[in-house]
């Protein structure tokens, strides 16, 4: 869908990015300063770069063509607040909408729908400087969407918000990215956010594009990609689960993974809804027989598919890769090498993965 073969200037050097980004939600992941924002700006046409950019059938840039930013129809949510201070919230929202209308772009996302989706009705008459951080972020995202973009670029849209505000905004983002069907590139360095929102991942680091692929395939190996100085975040795995029930008294959601059941903390959700969870590798323990008398409630029956010792900062740990029995979902556990040898873990052995409910954040 979006084919890139460009040299992006990062400081004094350049990095070559050659990849094909699929039409869904793609995470752009990497340590700070590795050029994520510059790549996004190059895609939008805001930072000059050499090479070629093709979006669907349109050539945005090659040797003979250069489509300027205002003709690419990208919705861009910048890291910092970019609302126009002299316009009210409603005028800000209408800014892109009005210009899409003038250029006769079909209006698929009308103002009323987006205002409702982002819960902005009470803010319309206010000036940007009177908004709280969370409100302002919502308006920034809503304005980008109202420009009727064909590609959405989100540069750490939750940057600088506390976790309370994040839980307030993540559902909005999940909604737009899944329901509105606009291809999206989402810059983040938090794999929890990525697991909830993104289907694909591009990993940048060491002045190069290091990896790309499905989120489920890449997140578990992130810890292994860490090299000296690069903080690539926490390794872990993404699993899909279906909501099967809710316990009001305990505030717990029942989730089905294949024919096994797991419980996580959260709000009531419609049954059969599919959710994604991020399980950090260091939050998963392994037992060779099903333990009793334990506070940990989630014990999944799993099979060991790989055991790999870790190096560098994570020396002394091993990554145990697991498949959940009765479903194709994969997990990754980081345990100490000592524990691995004491339990005599072997490839193909059936064991139990223990996951503490309290460590799992509420699904988006």
């Amino acid at each position: 869908m979006l084919a890139l073969n460009i040299n992006v200037p990062i400081g004094d050097t350049q990095i070559n990015v050659e990849c094909e980004i699929p039409p869904s939600v793609t995470a752009l992941f990497g340590p700070s300063g590795c050029g994520k924002t510059t790549l996004l700006r190059a895609i939008a046409g805001l930072t000059p770069c050499s090479g070629s950019i093709r979006f669907k059938e349109e050539i945005w840039q090659d040797l003979d063509h250069l489509v300027p930013c205002h003709e690419r129809r990208v919705g861009y949510v910048f890291q910092e607040d970019r609302l126009f201070p002299h316009l009210s919230v409603e005028e800000n929202l209408r800014y892109g909408l009005k210009r899409a209308d003038v250029q006769q772009v079909p209006i698929k996302l009308p103002l009323a729908d987006v205002v409702e989706q982002f819960d902005l009705a009470n803010l319309l008459g206010r000036k940007p400087k009177t908004l709280s951080g969370g409100e302002s972020r919502r308006v920034n995202v809503a304005r980008a969407i109202l420009g009727q973009p064909q590609l959405l670029l989100l540069d750490e849209p939750l940057n600088g918000l506390d976790s309370q505000r994040k839980t307030e905004i993540i559902p909005y983002l999940a909604n737009i990215t899944r329901e509105l069907d606009i291809p999206t590139i989402y810059v983040s360095h938090l794999n929890d956010e990525i697991a909830k929102l993104c289907d694909h991942m591009l990993v940048m680091g060491n002045n190069t594009l290091m990896q790309q692929g499905r989120t489920e395939d890449i997140l578990p190996s992130l810890g292994l990609l860490s090299t000296k100085g690069d903080d690539l975040g926490e390794a872990g795995s993404v699993i899909q689960a279906a909501v099967t029930g809710f316990s009001e008294a305990y505030s717990m959601i029942d989730l089905a993974i294949g024919d096994q059941v797991m419980q996580v903390l959260g709000q009531q959700r419609p049954a059969t809804e599919r959710v994604r969870l991020f399980l950090a590798a260091r939050d998963i323990a392994i037992a060779t027989s099903k333990p009793t008398q334990l506070s940990i409630r989630n014990m999944l029956s799993v099979t060991i598919t790989d055991i790999a010792p870790l190096t560098g900062k994570m020396r002394g740990l091993v990554a145990v890769h697991l498949t959940v029995n009765g479903s194709g979902e994969r997990l990754c556990a980081h345990i100490s090498k000592a524990a691995c040898e004491a339990l005599n873990l072997q490839l193909g052995a059936e064991v139990f993965a223990l996951i503490k409910s309290a460590r799992i954040s509420t699904p988006a």
């Binding site: 805001l46 990208v74 861009y76 126009f84 002299h86 800014y95 210009r99 899409a100 420009g147």
Partner: protein, 228 residues
């Protein structure tokens, strides 16, 4: 009657100078605010010359430039049949040069503070470059424009040396308030000098008061540091 003719002439001169400079100084100030060109310091220095030079020096060079012996002067005589020196048009041109920094500096300060980010944001929302500038930078620079226009107007009202050199003292053509005051003092007509001087003083104070009040409400930081 002399006073009223002089007041009207002064207001006309300052008004025209301000309007023309608003148009000319906008692109220049934008360029000064955002260009990385190696000649930028030179352009900045040239723009600021009227701030430091005695108006008589500036007036002297302009008088030479306006003489029918030069290319500009002879072209003007050919086109209009009259000389630029000692004419209202010559006075306007001199005022444009003399008051340029008073328009350029507040505008440049405003444009620097606004930056290019609003243009980028507008472009991602589908605005063409001119549309983007007009709908974001222009309204955001409102207080910078107000400051620049008022300072330019007031400064042109108060100019003396350059007028005397370039315009002389022709009633209804080049005799502005400051010239009338000078003449009154020379002829010992102190009551007229008092009236006009007090008028100018009150005028200057009240426009500056207006600027500082409105800027405090709009954006106090947009006033250039030299005029805070």
């Amino acid at each position: 009657m002399t006073e009223f003719t002089a007041i009207w002439l002064t207001a006309k001169l300052a008004g025209i100078t301000t309007l023309v400079l608003l148009v000319l100084a906008t692109p220049l100030s934008w360029w000064l605010a955002h260009s990385q060109h190696r000649l930028k310091p030179a352009v900045e220095a040239i723009t600021a010359i009227p701030l430091v030079m005695p108006p008589t020096v500036l007036g002297f060079y302009l008088l030479i430039l306006f003489s029918p012996d030069t290319a500009l002067g002879s072209l003007w005589v050919e086109l209009t049949g009259s000389t630029l020196a000692f004419s209202f048009t010559g006075l306007v041109i001199a005022s444009l040069v003399y008051s340029l920094p008073f328009m350029v500096q507040p505008l440049t300060a405003a444009f620097v503070q606004i930056g290019k980010q609003p243009l980028e944001t507008a472009a991602t929302l589908g605005a063409k470059p001119w549309d983007a500038w007009r709908s974001t930078v222009l309204p955001m620079a409102r207080s910078g424009y107000l400051t620049a226009a008022v300072l330019t107007f007031a400064h042109t009202v108060g100019e003396f040396g350059i007028v005397l050199m370039v315009g002389g003292n022709l009633a209804g053509e080049t005799r502005v308030i400051s010239i009338v005051i000078y003449e009154s003092v020379e002829t010992l007509n102190y009551s007229q000098a008092h009236a006009l001087s007090a008028g100018l003083l009150a005028f200057s104070f009240s426009v500056l008061l207006c600027v500082y009040y409105s800027n405090r409400q709009l954006a106090p930081s947009l006033l250039p540091s030299s005029h805070r």
